[in-house]
């Protein structure tokens, strides 16, 4: 099976879907002539022309609105935000227009569109450009939110997102674009709303998604050397969330660590823990512990940024705590 980057996997998904359905088009800052700020759209302008690969001005609210309008009249837009931090300017179109159009029009206007771009922190981009928005977006009824953590999942989920008749948020990662993994040549889709057990173990569940999947897998590898077997549940889709995958794992291991990139308060992990306490109460041998970003704006200083981010050491410590191996 070919091993390709996360970036190229997204590129393949866009290319395949644009070939398959000529209503699909890509729009955003620098997606055309410049081949995308992160080269996700490399070669697409050349291949599909400027009617289907549209360079926009630096007007997030404006082009998000154009996307919503295009979807209302039958196109299937993919709107790229250079990062989700910039998407804050467009949030009214995402939350008030895209998420609610089908509902408020009494079913007259479907909203088959995708908003995608890198989410969360990269390295030393400081407080305004290092934020993980999944809990904001997943909060909204009417939106679907996917957080692929591997090239395979990135391609399969983006293709499903483009084919879905609802607005789907695709949260990628600047630090993920260069990661590599196996992606088959033949076409495949990954259903929205289905988690994947990325690794099987009996002692503790780590429930996570997106960029943190890599951290969870590293933690599982490290802990395996101490004989601790981790179940790694990759949610893949944050909304709708695959509750059954979570509870099946926790009922097996009796312990859970919930790992997420964003902040603690009202974070995705809080929702996961709620599902666990509701459905797994009698199966829990320890309180569930969350690993997340420190409750501060992301520091610019390298050492402080490292200290603020959820990481391997924090995840391992959390696992040992829920297993009563360390205080």
């Amino acid at each position: 099976m070919p091993i390709i980057t996360y970036r190229d996997a997204l590129n393949q998904a866009l290319r395949e879907e644009m070939h398959k359905d000529d209503r699909v088009f890509l729009m955003g800052e620098e997606v055309g002539v410049y081949n995308g700020a992160y080269k996700v759209s490399k070669g697409l302008l050349e291949e599909f022309g400027e009617m289907r690969v549209v360079d926009t001005p630096i007007t997030e609210l404006g082009f998000a609105g154009v996307g919503v309008g295009a979807a209302m009249v039958g196109l299937r837009p993919v709107v790229e935000f250079m990062t989700w931090n910039f998407a804050l300017l467009a949030i009214d179109q995402v939350v008030n227009a895209a998420a609610k159009m089908l509902y408020m029009s009494g079913g007259q206007f479907p909203m088959p569109m995708v908003f995608r771009g890198p989410n969360g922190a990269a390295l030393q981009l400081s407080a305004q450009h290092s934020q993980a928005w999944e809990s904001w977006l997943a909060h909204i009824p009417g939106l679907k939110v996917v957080t692929p953590g591997t090239p395979y999942d990135a391609k399969g989920l983006l293709k499903s997102a483009i084919r879905d008749d609802n607005p789907v948020i695709v949260l990628e990662g600047e630090m993920l674009y260069n990661t590599k993994g196996e992606v088959p040549e033949e076409e495949y889709l990954i259903p929205l709303g289905k988690a994947e057990l990325k690794r099987e173990g009996s002692d503790c569940s780590i429930i996570t998604s997106g960029k943190m999947v890599l951290v969870a897998m590293q933690a599982a590898d490290t802990l395996a050397k101490e004989g601790i077997k981790i179940d790694v549940v990759d949610l893949r889709t944050i909304r709708p969330m695959d509750v059954e995958a979570i509870t099946t794992s926790v009922k097996k291991t009796n312990r859970a660590v919930v790992l997420e990139e964003g902040w603690e308060i009202c974070g995705i992990g809080a929702q996961v823990v709620d599902y666990i306490q509701r459905d797994c109460f009698d199966h829990l041998d320890a309180p569930v512990i969350r690993v997340h970003q420190a409750d501060v704006p992301m520091p610019y200083a390298k050492m402080l940024e490292r200290a603020a981010k959820p990481d391997l050491a924090k995840t391992i410590a959390a696992v040992k705590k829920v297993m009563y191996l360390e205080a």
Partner: protein, 420 residues
């Protein structure tokens, strides 16, 4: 930081405690774990220990006074610390009616701090008994479920988690070690659950409701048998000749026979739980002991698995310590069925009151020599004892109780059966 000393729940049923004696004076230095006072619970005199370090700054309860569980009885702090806020907190909580806006805010916060201290103590010194907060055993939900499924008594397990929390591994350890816990040399390991919960059938529900309407909360009926002790007497005499160490009493033989018979009649070895009947697969035999303060029922755990000599030694030890008020709560909770004996007080026969949720109790009368007609037309003198079984009719029907007593009679009249 100052630590509150509160009246703790030292037994599962304790609601208030009487402070018998202070063992530390105001101004004495105390370490965590020091015994501060003796407290009389509903069943025994127990020790109230310090949960913090420093100086016993204040004693708030006089010797002899009884106070509810949770009441502030003293304060430990450094010699110079200002503890008026803590004392004020206690005043506010007792004066909650007059100052409702202040008390609820102050009292729970203080209570949380005290609970945290309490929980920290057992972790430092390995707990012999599980951590409790306000009488509740601290255990993970999973541990509770596993213990319930396996019939393991959570209260008898020392937790290894934070603050003494009982967790999965403690239950697993208890399940593998339990046989040696109560009897080092004889109890064989058992497999499967310790009890079976039997949902109530409609007819059983109807019986329960109608009979309860007829006679109090527990519709009790009584079955009396007169049992011949000739062979038991022969056995006692024969083994006593082998040496003093083999001496056993009639009561020991009756306890052993009762335990063995109960193991064959789980329908009698049961608890009435309101919406189900719990039949036990283990026999924990309660034996009523009269003390100067009243009745207490220590438990011979796994009595059916113990040899006569063990029953004899254990019943003697439990009775002695009961009279000395030295029993721990674990020693007088958890019985599956009980026996009461007033024979030594020349009571011919009597009916005992069932100790709920148990479903039966045996009342043992005095052993008497009686003239009986023999099959050949002659007469002989035989030792006889009258045993009356009180049965909870909601769980035990007449014939069920009678069959149990048939087994019991066969055992006592043919004590050799006890070795089978």
């Amino acid at each position: 930081m100052a630590t509150k000393v509160s009246m703790e729940a030292l037994s599962p049923t304790m609601e208030e405690g009487r402070l018998v004696k202070w063992l530390k004076n105001e101004g004495d230095a105390v370490k965590s774990g020091d015994v501060l006072a003796e407290v009389e619970t509903d069943k025994a005199v127990m020790e109230l220990v310090a949960r913090g370090e420093g100086v016993l700054r204040k004693r708030l309860v006089n010797e002899g006074d009884a106070v509810p569980v949770g009441t502030l009885v003293g304060v430990i702090g450094s010699a110079s610390e200002d503890i008026t806020a803590l004392l004020g907190g206690s005043a506010a909580s007792s004066a909650a009616v007059s100052a409702p806006s202040v008390a609820p805010a102050v009292a729970p916060a203080a209570g949380t701090a005290a609970a945290a201290k309490t929980a920290a103590a057992p972790a430092a010194a390995p707990a012999a008994a599980p951590a409790t907060t306000g009488g509740r055993t601290v255990a993970s939900p999973l541990a509770r479920r596993l213990a319930s499924d396996a019939g393991v008594d959570l209260q008898r397990i020392a937790g290894s988690g934070p603050g003494g929390r009982v967790v999965k591994r403690d239950i697993e350890a208890a399940m593998t070690s339990q046989p040696t816990q109560s009897s080092a040399n004889s109890t064989p390991a058992r497999t499967g659950s310790d009890f079976t919960d039997i949902p109530l059938t409609q007819i059983r529900k109807t019986i329960a409701r109608r009979l309860a309407e007829s006679i109090g909360p527990i519709p009790t009926f009584y079955l009396t048998v007169e049992i011949d002790l000739s062979r038991a007497a022969e056995m006692r005499a024969a083994v006593a000749e082998l040496g003093d160490e083999f001496k056993v009493s009639f009561n020991d033989i009756i306890l052993k026979a009762t335990a063995t018979a109960l193991s064959q009649h789980p329908e009698v070895n049961a608890h009435w739980l309101g919406d189900s009947i719990r039949q036990f697969n283990r026999v924990h035999l309660g034996m009523a002991v009269a003390t100067d303060d009243g009745l207490i029922v220590p438990v011979i755990f796994d009595a059916d698995q113990k040899r006569l000599s063990e029953i004899s030694a254990e019943s003697r030890s439990l009775a002695k310590r009961a009279r000395e008020r030295k029993l721990t709560p674990a020693e007088y909770t958890g019985s599956t069925c009980s026996v009461s004996n007033l024979g030594m007080m020349q009571i011919d026969q009597f009916t005992a009151i069932i100790n709920p949720p148990e479903c039966g109790i045996l009342a043992i009368g005095a052993i008497e020599d009686k003239v009986v007609a023999e099959a050949d037309g002659g007469f002989t003198v035989r030792k006889k004892v009258k045993i009356t079984m009180s049965c909870d009719h909601r769980a035990i029907d007449g014939a069920v109780g009678a069959r149990f007593l048939q087994t019991l009679r066969r055992m006592i009249e043919n004590p050799l059966m006890l070795v089978y």
